[in-house]
């Protein structure tokens, strides 16, 4: 299990370096997919299986599809992948920064508590607590989702400006 967690941590950092090094949005979205998948791996490695499933469904299933679709807005004739000069430079830069960060931390404790798989996990129970006694919090979350709907509709309303109007 420790190997899986280590693999996940490695994938998370390097996925995020891939995002941060300013490639074209197609590849940046790919880097985020790598990061989110590694995140799922970490969470399930620590035994937080339900939140891992939620992360998988929402990030990879829902949001990343929309992001990959929206990357079409940023289409370029010659997309820059991680092989191009500028991106390679930034990848190296971030790797150096990461190494310096590792050097600054005086002691790293490799031990971490890994929960074992069991039928009832506290995270799974916790999500049902939100519905059972969430109360105002649940109401606020629902309200936020509602106003997001209004906000998105108002922001993207068709007007007579721009390139995509009818």
């Amino acid at each position: 299990m420790a190997y899986i967690i280590f693999l996940g941590l490695f994938g998370l950092v390097f996925g995020m370096i891939g995002v941060a090094s300013n490639p074209s949005p197609y590849y940046a979205a790919f880097g985020l997919v790598l990061g989110a998948a590694s995140g799922c791996l970490i969470l399930s490695g620590f035994g937080i299986t339900f939140l891992s499933l939620i992360l998988f469904l929402i990030y990879l299933g829902g949001m990343m599809v929309v992001f990959a679709y929206s990357a079409a807005m940023a289409a370029e004739p010659y997309p820059e992948a991680w092989g191009n000069m500028s991106v390679v430079f930034y990848v190296l830069f971030y790797c150096v920064v990461l190494g310096m960060g590792l050097g600054l931390v005086d002691s790293i404790d490799v031990l971490s508590i890994v929960g074992e798989f069991s039928v009832v996990r506290s995270d799974w129970g916790g999500v049902s607590v939100l519905y059972y006694s969430g109360g105002w919090l649940l109401l606020i979350l629902g309200w936020v989702l509602l106003i997001t709907l209004f906000v998105v509709l108002e922001v993207t309303r068709a007007v007579k400006y721009g390139s995509m109007c009818l």
Partner: protein, 98 residues
């Protein structure tokens, strides 16, 4: 500080540095924001599991709900920018400079 904490903190800092230092596309700025949210989500879920308390697990759920809202608003703004500016390049957003 465990290796896990260090990884999550440095993931967040990478994404934040990427957002602030250099972006060509608005789209990849939004992806960086999502990366920051991802790092916080993982850190929060691990924190709740370390505390091993049932009611604390509400926090990551609330977080991911709001981050989904923020991502969708960001994409809506991307569409609006594309309408008015013709592309989503950050360097085109220069109408309001002094």
């Amino acid at each position: 500080m465990t290796l896990t904490n260090l990884t999550i903190y440095s993931t967040f800092m990478m994404a934040m540095a990427g957002l602030t230092l250099h972006r060509t596309h608005l789209m990849s700025a939004l992806i960086c924001l999502e990366g920051m949210m991802l790092a916080i989500f993982i850190g929060l879920a691990l924190w709740c599991s370390q505390m091993d308390s049932m009611s604390l697990s509400i926090n990551p759920m609330a977080l991911i709900t709001l981050s989904a809202c923020e991502a969708s608003t960001g994409l809506a703004i991307l569409v609006a920018t594309n309408r008015t500016h013709g592309s989503d390049l950050i360097k085109n957003l220069n109408l309001l400079q002094c």
